[in-house]
């Protein structure tokens, strides 16, 4: 169920979630999205261009973070605007533990027309991986 405009104000918390990214997730996302850039699945190539390891697609991290908003909104079609900056890569090790990304959200602004802006924070190993991550939800 979508939150009612009456119960949402600046500072309202949007429930956070923690996601685990494993190599297999990147392979699946590459196939589904069509982004087969080798730095997302080939450690040898990733390291040869100066990366610490295979890194997650920024778009994959962006999609995971959106989940916090779509779950809160009830109807994912209510997310009318969603933007991020990719500030830091998420290295994904070749093990079964993978890499964790924690996403939290808070209502940063109440806009006209029963819309609100949700500000997201996504961190990996204590550091932000997305900047200015904001989603506008039509309540």
């Amino acid at each position: 169920m979508a939150p009612s405009p009456d119960e949402v104000e600046v500072g309202t918390t949007v429930p956070g979630q923690t996601f685990t990214i494993r190599r297999a997730d990147l392979v699946r996302y590459a196939g589904a999205s069509g982004d087969f850039n080798v730095i997302h699945w080939n450690e040898r190539v990733a390291k040869s261009v100066g990366l610490p390891d295979v890194i997650a697609h920024g778009m994959y991290t962006m999609a995971l973070a959106a989940r916090v908003v779509t779950d809160w909104a009830g109807d994912p079609g209510r997310v009318v605007d969603y933007g991020v900056r990719f500030t830091r890569p998420v290295p994904v090790p070749d093990d079964d533990r993978g890499a964790e990304v924690e996403v939290t959200g808070v209502v940063g602004a109440v806009l006209d027309g029963d819309r609100v802006r949700v500000d997201l924070t996504a961190t990996h190993a204590g550091q932000k991986v997305l900047g200015r991550a904001q989603a506008v939800v039509q309540l």
Partner: protein
């Protein structure tokens, strides 16, 4: 060589229509690990007021990533793709993408700027149905890292 800022404003021809299928939406939802029934089940999507299954907010990337090849491969821009990193991404939806849509993408290079030895190219991809209904404007900033 920095990319000439005068290339800003150029628009590439619309892509051939991309037909959005329910199985592709389900595949994409599986790939992002999202069990939301609005992405999978027609009745669940209809209960939310949508005519058919809808796609996740970032699904348009499947179309715009393909369409952006026109810009990335533009010989006049001369982008070295091995130096490209994704800087920013934004999706503004007029309405959600849904199964049954036939969508074209028109890519426009909006701005070109250089800073700190890097080139930043921001493109706008307009996603429109073959009937002419605007569905989404997708902005992407690519950073072409300078050499050395």
């Amino acid at each position: 060589m920095p990319i000439d800022p005068s290339y800003a404003g150029r628009t590439y021809p619309p892509t051939e229509p991309y037909e959005v299928g329910i199985e592709k939406i389900r595949e994409f939802a599986d790939a992002i690990g999202d069990p939301n029934p609005a992405y999978r089940d027609r009745e669940a999507a209809k209960a939310l007021g949508h005519p058919d299954v809808i796609a996740p907010p970032t699904f348009a990337f499947v179309l715009t990533f393909r369409a952006s090849r026109a810009l990335v491969d533009d010989p006049e821009l001369g982008i070295d793709y091995s130096r490209v990193v994704h800087g920013e991404q934004r999706f503004e939806h007029t309405r959600p993408i849904r199964a049954g849509d036939a969508l074209t993408v028109t890519v426009t290079l909006e701005t070109v700027r250089s800073a700190g030895g890097h080139d930043m190219l921001t493109s706008r991809s307009d996603v429109v149905t073959v009937e002419g209904e605007h569905v989404a404007a997708v902005r992407s900033t690519l950073v072409v890292r300078g050499e050395g």
